[in-house]
């Protein structure tokens, strides 16, 4: 028996097991549950048009998110900044991932680009707000996580440094979402130019105190070494391509130029593999955690502080968060009742409309029948009249004929009478 030490702060004593209990199986249970549930990840890509964002997304996830029949935002230049989202479900090894790609066509394309970051900020805030509301509801069985987990910012490979637009955008977004800056179309730069450019960018990022996504330090030394290597390469210079080319008998993805092939997955040519490993294979969960714990909490505390400070929230929220759960329930019940009433009213309306329609239809058919009846009657009468007419004619004819016959008979009688008279007269003489 181990005695409990009498300390003010209860410390967790470490014990060794003498046998197999089985809770080493916990990770497996978590794993199985998560696999069943599936994962969600929302990735946002921001940058001027023509920097290869769509190509990079296609290369990262090896699918054609934007194919020929569903052309992405790259094919059209927009006048204002839009925020477009496309969801895709990909499965690999039994694990399914609901990937949402948020694209921002029109960013930085206009002549005057002031406030072109506003739609992006609004989008991110609205997603956080949705999550906040969903979290505060009483009934929160389904809480879809649509918050933006990571924002890839594409820097044009000018070779000089960051543009004022880049700096402005990153400053405004670095405390709302994980920002990972990338150098787009890195096959424009020779290795020396690339190094210089990266150094310049990092210097400017530090100057302006922009907090890009930091890789967490782990206890594992090996991992730490890898992480340090990645940190040295920031910002990552990427090249995207989904076209498979044959090089020295091997099939690789790359871009074919007259002077050579720039391979996408070759670590010496560009940092694409680093990005992919970091984003998908090792740090996806960390990105989600940071979004949840840091950015979302920032948003939440700011939002709630605003509410409690003012007493009245200037922006309307579906559920007021300062009320007690009972009041919340009352509120929900009221909502529900109202919804029911509305539905009822609607159904009644629909019902009445249907009844009216049916009545109308019946009336119509009745009128139709009446009309037909009238018509038939008229027809019959006409026929009757005709027949009458014919009969009259016939009678007339008959009368005529009979009269004629009588005349003829009379004539015949007269003729026979005169003949008899003549005969008698003849006989006398």
């Amino acid at each position: 028996m181990i005695e409990r030490p009498e300390t003010a702060v209860p410390s967790i004593a470490q014990r060794n097991l003498e046998g197999y209990v089985g809770f080493a199986n916990l990770p497996n249970q978590v794993y199985r549950k998560s696999v069943k549930r599936g994962f969600e990840f929302t990735l946002m890509v921001v940058g001027e048009s023509g920097l290869g964002k769509s190509t990079l997304i296609n290369s990262l996830f090896l699918t054609d998110l934007y194919s020929k029949d569903y052309p992405g935002p790259s094919q059209r230049i927009k006048k204002t900044v839009q925020v477009e989202q496309s969801k895709v479900l990909i499965k690999e090894g039994g694990v399914q991932l609901t990937l949402t790609i948020v694209d921002t066509p029109g960013f930085g394309d206009a002549v005057d680009n002031s406030n072109c970051w506003q739609p992006v900020i609004n989008y991110i805030d609205s997603k956080c707000e949705d999550f906040l509301n969903a979290e505060s509801r009483v009934n929160r069985r389904s809480m879809p996580d649509n918050r933006v987990h990571c924002c890839l910012y594409f820097i044009a490979p000018s070779g000089h440094g960051l543009k004022p637009l880049d700096i402005e955008f990153m400053k405004r977004l670095h405390d709302k979402v994980n920002v990972i800056p990338l150098i787009a179309k890195a096959d424009t730069l020779t290795p020396e130019e690339c190094q210089l450019f990266k150094k310049q960018i990092m210097k400017e990022i530090q100057e302006h105190k922009i907090k890009i996504y930091e890789f967490p330090d782990t206890e594992d030394d090996e991992d730490n070494k890898l992480i340090r290597k990645i940190k040295e390469k920031m910002p990552l210079a990427v090249v995207g391509s989904n076209v498979v080319i044959e090089v020295n008998g091997k099939k690789v993805r790359g871009r074919q130029y007259p002077w050579g092939v720039a391979e996408v997955e070759n670590g010496e040519h560009c940092d694409f593999t680093v990005l992919r490993n970091m984003l998908i294979r090792t740090h996806m969960q960390d990105l989600k955690d940071v979004t949840n714990n840091v950015h979302y909490e920032n948003y939440r505390s700011k939002k709630l502080a605003a509410v409690t400070c003012n007493g009245v929230d200037t922006t309307k929220t579906k559920g007021q968060l300062t009320k007690s759960p009972l009041a919340q329930m009352e509120e929900e019940r009221r909502e529900h009742v109202m919804k029911m009433k509305k539905m009822e009213a609607e159904m009644e309306q629909v019902f009445e409309m249907k009844v009216k329609e049916k009545k109308q239809k019946l009336k119509d058919s009745e009128a139709e029948l009446e009309r037909r009846h009238e018509q038939m009657k008229r027809n019959l009468e006409a026929q009757y009249k005709e027949l009458e007419e014919k009969r009259r004619v016939f009678e007339d004819e008959k009368a005529n004929w009979e009269a004629q016959q009588r005349i003829l008979e009379q004539q015949k009688l007269d003729a026979s009478k005169t003949m008899e008279k003549n005969k008698k007269k003849g006989k006398i003489f």
Binding site: V111, P258, G260, E268
Partner: protein
Amino acid sequence: MSESTKPHPQGKGEKTHVGDSSYVGIDAILEQMRRKAMKQGFEFNIMVVGQSGLGKSTLVNTLFKSKVSRKSVQPNPEERIPKTIEIKSISHDIEEKGVRMKLTVIDTPGFGDQINNENCWQPIMKFINDQYEVYLQEEININRKKRIPDSRVHCCIYFIPPTGHCLRPLDVEFMRRLSKVVNIVPVIAKADTLTLEERDYFKQTIREELRANGIDVYPQKEFDEDAEDRMINDKIREMIPFAVVGSDQEYQVNGKRILGRKTKWGTIEVENIAHCEFAYLRDLLIRTHMQNIKDITGSIHYETYRVRRLNESNIHFSRVSVLCQSKKYFPYTQDIKF
């Protein structure tokens, strides 16, 4: 055909009719012009315009380091080309086969850096108009020099960023305004970003957009003088915009030292026409169409400017009288703006 006894050397296939009574000798004027031109030399001014970071300054260096003049420019190879912040003119006197040329390349700072890029074309337009102004002032001077130094911008190379999709609104705006005052030659900058298919597609898209927006780039269709011109220019119009790559660093390839860019997957040679079209651009500008460009600048763009300026100054002086008159005849109309 007998041998000529005249003192000048034979030109390109000149016929000599010594003793031919019908020969006057008018075609000898070509030879006289040639000699004079060789003595005088030529001037040519090129301006490079484009967004920041597209390689304009590098291309300027490439132009001089290439076969135009290798010896005159010896920059420090370690020095990186810094960001241009003001309009710089670099002039070089080049001589080739007895012909002297003063080639000036005007390097401009990149525009389109700011968040709000309205009116970013103002400084460039102002510079071009200033050059016209200088020439005009010299021309209307009472005691003017025998040969007015020509600093007018003859040709403006506009750099289009290699997005691969279409022209940006900023480019369209800029080119539209510039094409009215100067000859524009659009080029696709940093063309090593695009594969050959992407390059063709991009060129087609650009040509369509230029046509749709009514932007007349050099060679302008309306200035084609005859069928031969039209044929040559049509061929050029098929290739516009040229896809160029600039570099001022030399590398060893196949035993030769050439200008290029070295990457991990290959070396891009600037003067190799299979890689990029820099050679075509240089030939167009300097070898074949230089005189034509200068003519168009002188006779059309400069004249437009001159007419506008002289009208302005006329109206400025007689504006008061015109206004009075207009008020008399049209008492109810608004103030007429010129």
